[in-house]
């Protein structure tokens, strides 16, 4: 039988390393701020928000549109025999705002942005660029990690809102065609069914997922060893770890939320 101990030890090591990365990045940012400087380079931050945030809009919108459309179509057909098609707008709205929007966006961003961060930082590590930055007396975590993590942390909620709206749009189109629910009515029903708690839960989740994806991707990139093959392995590991962690935290978040508010 395979002993679970090495797996648990490795998982704990990774968690502590990611936390170490977060703490040291914050410390380096603090050092720089104490000298009256901005905590990170604005040019790199805006470059990263453009690449990881704005650049992810087409993928997030397209995938969410199709998932929203499919969700409305399948639930509508299941509800039709009971004459309950009118529940489709609220199902899509609540399902996406609270659960599928943050989760699907998290998975897409981990695959698209997390992989790019790991590959980029991994290549910089094997070509000694990261060490050169350190040797110059510039904090490499502040320079390289902080703008990337902040970009994905702050842009995730925006992407989730786009995901929610495009999914509802997809659901609305298919509902008007298949179940004779007018577009206007779909959106009115959707908005009426949403409560603040659903929206807040979705937004909080998206911030958390953004932080997880950014930190895991940067950690994996900076800990690359062994040249091009190492970069490939780290990139795969980064995507797998980020997606698994996002899904794990999503489950944990839902359990806590239900335990606290939905009794």
């Amino acid at each position: 039988m395979i002993s679970p101990l090495p797996i648990v030890r490795s998982a704990l090591q990774q968690v502590s390393s990611v936390l170490w990365l977060l703490i040291h990045t914050v410390q380096e940012m603090g050092d720089h701020m104490m000298r009256g400087r901005l905590p990170f380079r604005l040019s790199i931050f805006f470059e990263q928000t453009d690449r990881s945030g704005v650049g992810s809009i087409p993928l997030v919108a397209l995938v969410s549109f199709f998932i929203g459309l499919t969700m409305a179509l399948l639930t509508g057909y299941q509800l039709r025999p009971y004459g309950q098609e009118s529940l489709v707008p609220s199902l899509v709205a609540i399902g996406f705002t609270r659960e599928l929007g943050p989760l699907m966006t998290g998975i897409m961003v981990a695959a698209r942005v997390g992989a790019a961060y790991t590959a980029e930082l991994g290549t910089m590590t094997v070509t000694e660029e990261v060490e050169a930055i350190e040797a110059m007396g510039i904090g490499p975590l502040r320079l390289l990690v902080s703008p990337r993590v902040l970009a994905v942390f702050l842009l995730m909620p925006c992407l989730v809102v786009i995901s929610d709206f495009t999914a509802m749009f997809g659901g609305a189109i298919v509902s008007s065609w298949a179940f004779d629910i007018p577009l206007q009515l779909f959106f009115t029903d959707s908005l009426e069914s949403l409560v603040i708690r659903d929206i807040v839960a979705g937004v909080l989740k998206s911030f958390l997922f953004g932080l997880i994806i950014g930190l895991v991707a940067c950690y994996k990139g900076l800990s690359v060893r062994g040249g091009a093959a190492g970069v490939g392995t780290a990139t795969t590991s980064s995507v797998v770890t980020a997606i698994t962690t996002v899904i794990g935290f999503d489950t944990l978040f839902n359990i806590v939320l239900v335990a606290l508010f939905d009794k």
Binding site: M124, T127, M136, I138, G139
Partner: protein
């Protein structure tokens, strides 16, 4: 070479370093006085580049002391370490230029991050250093557009951008043609004379070593086995040193390497 603490720029005393089970350095003693150019020789994998990383505080020794101007590097916190590194310039074997930044931005990076100079002042300093290494025309080029020799020169310019007191060179002429190699060696000499910096050069290329060195040290089996002026080094009777200089395949340096007939 004996020096007193106030005179040394950097000093390693009985430095030991082990990676996992393997002890790479086993009691290295080395000190550098201002303005000298010390060449550290040794076989590939003997721990020469590791010495530079210990001086920079990137690696910490398992035992022993590393000092910079009398301050213990191993006990420095992050902020002091960064302040110390600003007085050093590291020139990497493969230049390690930031591939996403052009030549100007590569050189300007430490100035923008660590000083309060205006953009115009930074541009002037960048141009001044680029002119010193004869690369003023490459100001707007990306590292990928430069040849190996050009990249090395830009790496040199970046190494001296903060007017360091100590410049560390990791295999500066490795992989270059003989002419470019001589150009780089001459640049090392002229830079150390012009800015008055102390230099430590790690290499295994004898011709280049004798050209630039004011002192030579040989690292073998984790220790410095010879440390003297180039003329004396050339006459050193130690069979390891003699074999390294001659490049002969027969001798103690072949121990542990595969037999030529197998």
């Amino acid at each position: 070479m004996t020096t007193n603490d106030t005179e040394t720029v950097t000093e390693l005393k009985n430095v030991h370093l082990a990676f996992d089970e393997k002890e790479v350095l086993q009691g290295v003693d080395l000190s550098l006085v201002p303005r000298e150019r010390v060449v550290v020789l040794g076989q590939s994998g003997s721990g020469k580049s590791t010495l530079l990383r210990l001086i920079l505080g990137i690696l910490k020794p398992t035992r022993g002391s590393v000092q910079f101007k009398g301050m213990e590097v191993t006990r420095m916190g992050r902020q002091r370490l960064n302040r110390m590194r600003q007085k050093m310039g590291m020139v990497y074997q493969y230049s390690a230029l930031i591939s996403s930044l052009n030549v100007r931005d590569n050189l300007a990076l430490p100035l923008e991050e660590l000083t309060t100079n205006s953009r115009r002042e930074i541009d002037e300093m960048v141009m001044q250093k680029l002119e010193l290494v004869g690369m003023a025309d490459a100001r707007d080029k990306m590292p990928s557009e430069l040849s190996g020799g050009m990249r090395k020169r830009v790496g040199l310019a970046r190494g001296i951008i903060m007017d360091p007191e100590l410049i560390l060179y990791d295999e500066p002429s490795a992989g270059l043609d003989p002419v470019t190699s001589t150009v780089i060696d001459e640049l090392i000499i002229s830079l150390s004379e012009k800015i008055g910096a102390t230099s430590i050069i790690v290499t295994h290329e004898m011709e280049s070593a004798f050209r630039v060195a004011t002192r030579m040290a040989m690292l073998y089996k984790g220790r410095i086995i010879a440390d003297e002026k180039p003329e004396a080094f050339k006459q050193n009777p130690d069979p390891v040193v003699a074999q390294f200089i001659s490049g002969d395949t027969k001798g103690p340096l072949m121990e542990g390497l595969p037999d030529e007939n197998t």
